[in-house]
Symmetry: D2
Subunit: 398 residues, 4 copies
């Protein structure tokens, strides 16, 4: 499906060679202030080496709101967002071997297997441009979450190849370095470390060097992006199957090139003892609760946890603590080196020479994509809980 | 939602204290031979220390087919499966503090936050018994996949705490030990290593000792389960959002206690270079293709890959190679030690004394649950592709 | 699909020859008082010639709640309801011709065409017993709607064959007889007119006679059921495709034997002029609004309409006025007369002798089924609006 | 929801005052020849007084395909279609009273109740322009159905106010006039009777006169549209809830202004006796079956029925016979006469003077909308059956 979410619901369309990459957002709450200016910054951040502050004169990937708003307010009706493709013709990859060989580890072959037709650009919707629709839709979800609940979603690069911001010794949830960063890091902070978006001066520089080196070598590498969600209300997640970590995991694993997802203590958490891993509860500071009560549709939890190995989710339901997770991206499949591989017609092997430009590492640009998918998963969970919350409140007050 | 899948669709119900744990399967293909005997073995494997061969006289967790079959054949109509709860009364945890304190890292608190009502058993559907419905439904999916495509799904334990079957040096997809095991390991092989289901004599023994030790210490630990899917047809997965790794990830992350998921090269794949990570294609052996053609609704891919860092999925679509992934489980939250935590009413802290029996490590029993969820995700993807496949074939033959 | 609804969601299973007819209800609001006693009365009314007051000693079609409640309160988790089939073996229809000939206008043939397998009972899920699951689920939806909003749903028989309660001169919405009945008719009122449930002494008697006559003649006839929904809140219905009349229409058209659905002014409304058909607004009586405000999750509309040709729905959204619609049922296909028809193997024609008992007119028993499906459609729409309502209220109070 | 269908799935967006009315089609089969020229004719027919043959120089409502095709072939990926709104500013209705009074029987008030915001155009998505997206999507569905199965969908006007093409004496399925028309009527035939699209010379003229008269009187009237679907394969429809008549009913009842739907014998069928209403089977002519077998993904039924009171659907599943149904439209709410009604603020009543142009009868333009929604419902049902059909065929051939 090209649809994500059941309540706050997004349907996307578009590949690299058509007229646009687009999405329709259904059920966005009405009366939300929304113009293109709320969406464009994240689209800019998705472009190579850009921060949200940059306002390039000849802006590319410009979003247009077609429907669902009037006078800068959402109507509650479907919102169509389109971003035109500049060059609608299939890309010229500079050689003909690309027509003869499906690119290794690319989507060329599987798209042909699945759909029985070969688009000139190869992997159809596996194109990186597809993620534009995610980022645009996510910006809308995020705007609503920020206004309604003060939700903050911040992602950043935690590794490029073997160069890592944090070590492998501790789970994220037990790493003081991560925990301190997670508390207050903003997107503006992250963008100070452009082009790699790893919020640590020296590590950032080493990553930059490594990427330059790989470009030279016509090779590529993977990396990880870590994301923290602050101020999400408690009660989000729809067990049994739509536990919050499951829909977040679905969201992240659907991003092109993602090979792994872990939440809270993650893989290293599996090595811990329960006595250390358990997060004891303690009463939430009074002012926190009362400040929230007056505003929120979903009341604030009266308990907090002292540690957060759970990553803000227990039994598949958010507990009001920060939610954080890590996403692993594989190295880009398109590289400048020659590759020996099979012909489309399965008649034998030969050499695919992919001479085009390529991006040796996608994680810096993946940051706003991860944020967008997180926003979509959270917004959907909030609306699902809203539907139930009204009943709970009606019953209380009756 | 308590529904998984869009085509091969399962809806589950039941918690530990009601009359049964149950599921309804919609759209199971008609004319499939199916009786309780096809489902019971995996339910048996889910019980502590059991293999599918064991046939205990007073069998527990006995499944009944209520509808959707006649004379041992599926009708294509919804199949209701129920497994009665033996003791329907809320569990006696041997002390009263459990009524005063939400258990740390358990679902007690978040269920109360979400639903505004406290079930006597605490975390409602987060109970381990909920997974019975998954295993029962998965056994049906699996029967169909096996008959239709010869699909084999085998999961096994790869770590208990810090004791690991494979090292951390290489990605699964680059580890010769894993690759050799993955090729032909069967469930019968895995069950030779009961009670821990780690298919290596010495490692298995060490894990067993470690679990015994933790029991002694009234503590718990986590672990990982690895799963391989052989003979899944190419063309499965519905991009952009329902890429096959995304629905598999969703399926796994929805299992209680899961904190991480990685596919193919996974997290370590993010440290590799593209030139090494890319999987070159080569023509599939002729007899493989022709043998398959005659049987399958979805024709077999004419290409295979020489390496499989992709884990059988490229661009979100299966390529016909083995699919494999790893799932991380946190240590069980219920431990025998006293724990200082907050009172339900947020009036302060105190000591929760959970004296009941507890399972120090869930991964051995998680093996059939992982297999079941894998079967459900694959069966759903197969039917989605079927819907399209007919059109492709009609067009070819016209 | 055997699933109805997106928010208040019901999945059903079961045909006449299995162990039970059952349903799972997802997302029923928590903390609702619910026991089998809330569900059984409508199941009783569905049985031939029964009112909800009757409490037969050896009650048939007894419902059991398997999950989702504790101590008589809903938990917010899935509710499994089962009703056992008394005689699980395929029915003996008293002759063998039924194995040779698909029954005319029955589901025998189309089920075989669709699923490629012939259940011994013929039309599988087209069995009238399937509707048990609808009635059980509807009773839960209805309980909630009644408690939360005071919603009243009452259906009754308006025609049997050519014998009609109201004439064909006016649309329902313009018929003083109907309008007066609709205002206050209760189920108890309707059941005073058992066995036919047509709330008019003389018409009722004529219908009864007609049905007796048809029984004698081994023939059958159709009829219509009209349903009114009072006190549904305004704002229900999810345009563009899930307008409230569309989901109500879907619900009704999915009931076995239904051939037509009309809402408000219906088919005769198409003959009216706009100047007469339009429903002018007028301010709602003050006390109505204020009484409601204090209680409801969805505030009461401050306007009412003077006429109600719209049937309580404008632009696909409820306006707070009574909703009413009519449903047409065809004559039952199973009759006692010999019928010339084709053999299953398409080798020729012959005579099908269906000698079994048969029900010459289903509309009296259809009354609780229509009420149930109406309750499910409305409950789903209420929860959809709840999800949005919280946002609207949050925004207002901020 | 603004989504229709589960397999062949359409999501629409757009109201009268935004940049475009648009839709995304998911899961359209790949390799289908498709350009704007396949879609434009039905959009033209939707405009007042146009036939599909007319090619106006300054064409309005021009559709653009943004994605999902290449070189005139579908790729199997989402197809975005947009139709720009010419005048994006809110309509000027020529007076200010429209800002003070919600229009009677219009969506102005209910949209405000539901969404808590008043679009300047009033009823938001209830605008007639919303149907553009339906017609565009339907044209794609139809193209596929025609190529794959030779499906023909033809709708026509059967009444305008009290002027009727057929009498009220017989059910459609028993009316020789209808049955003869239904057999071979084409869209070209229907368009010979522009502007009203009632395929009978004299009746058509009377309708035209009546509409002119109502225009004069600043009044409006309703009417009915009847639709026939020929060559739909047997086996379509997903009981229990998604019976084919239920999804068709849902589709039709979701069209703006529709108040009623009946299929096959419909409401009058409820007055018939079973012995007459039952449709006896007879073997299908041999050449029909064999001609079809070679081509179709879903084999042709080997039986036909002698009569067709079922309207091509038995037990909720198509039997291969023609499907036909009738749809009732209410008179348009917007009329030129003054109307006394309430103020938005519920402070009292006054006079709404709606002086704008208005269309006194929508049924002629509704013809392509009914056809479009029929195509969407059938295409969705075909894909659902495809998913199952592969399994049935695999089993047969194994």
């Amino acid at each position: 499906m090209s649809t994500f979410g059941h309540y706050f619901k997004v349907t996307t369309a578009g590949e690299s060679h058509g007229k646009s990459v687009s999405c329709i957002i259904e059920n966005c709450p009405p009366n939300l202030a929304l113009t293109e200016a709320d969406i464009q910054p994240q689209l800019n951040r998705r472009r190579p080496g850009q921060s949200s502050i940059t306002t390039p004169r000849n802006e590319k990937d410009r979003v247009t709101i077609h429907s669902g708003t009037e006078d800068g307010l959402t109507l509650g009706t479907p919102i169509l967002l389109t971003v035109p493709n500049e060059d609608q013709r299939p890309k010229d990859y500079g050689n003909q071997t690309i027509d003869l060989y499906p690119r290794p580890s690319h989507a060329d072959w599987t798209y042909l297997e699945k759909y029985g037709i070969k688009a000139s650009s190869g992997g159809g919707r596996s194109s990186a441009r597809e993620t534009i629709a995610r980022v645009a839709a996510g910006a809308v979800a995020e705007k609503w979450l920020r206004e309604a609940y003060g939700v903050e979603i911040v992602a950043f690069v935690t590794s490029v190849g073997t160069i890592k911001l944090f070590g492998d010794a501790d789970a994220m949830s037990a790493d003081p370095g991560f925990l301190s960063l997670a508390q207050s890091l903003t997107r503006a902070d992250v963008d100070k470390f452009l082009p790699v978006r790893c919020p640590h001066e020296e590590t950032s520089r080493r990553m930059e060097d490594r990427i330059a080196e790989l470009k030279e070598q016509e090779d590529s590498t993977g990396g990880t992006v870590t994301c923290v969600i602050r101020n999400a209300p408690a009660g989000l997640g729809e067990p049994a199957f739509d536990k919050l970590q499951a829909t977040l995991g679905h969201a992240m694993m659907s991003i092109p090139a993602v090979k792994g997802f872990e939440i809270g203590s993650g893989f290293l958490g599996s090595e811990m003892n329960g006595s250390k891993h358990n997060d004891p509860f303690t009463p939430a500071p009074e002012q926190l609760v009362s400040a929230a009560e007056s505003k929120l549709g979903i009341p604030r939890s009266r308990l907090v946890t002292k540690t957060n190995h759970s990553g803000g989710i227990q039994g598949g339901i958010s507990n009001g603590m920060p939610i954080f997770f890590r996403v692993a991206f594989k190295p880009p499949a398109t590289i400048g080196q020659d590759q020996t591989t099979a012909l489309y017609d399965a008649s034998g092997e030969g050499v695919l020479a992919a001479k085009g430009r390529h991006d040796p590492c996608v994680v810096p640009r993946a940051v706003p994509i991860v944020e967008a998918m997180a926003a979509l998963a959270i917004a959907d969970a909030v609306m699902a809980q809203h539907a139930r919350q009204v009943s709970i409140q009606m019953r209380k007050s009756s």
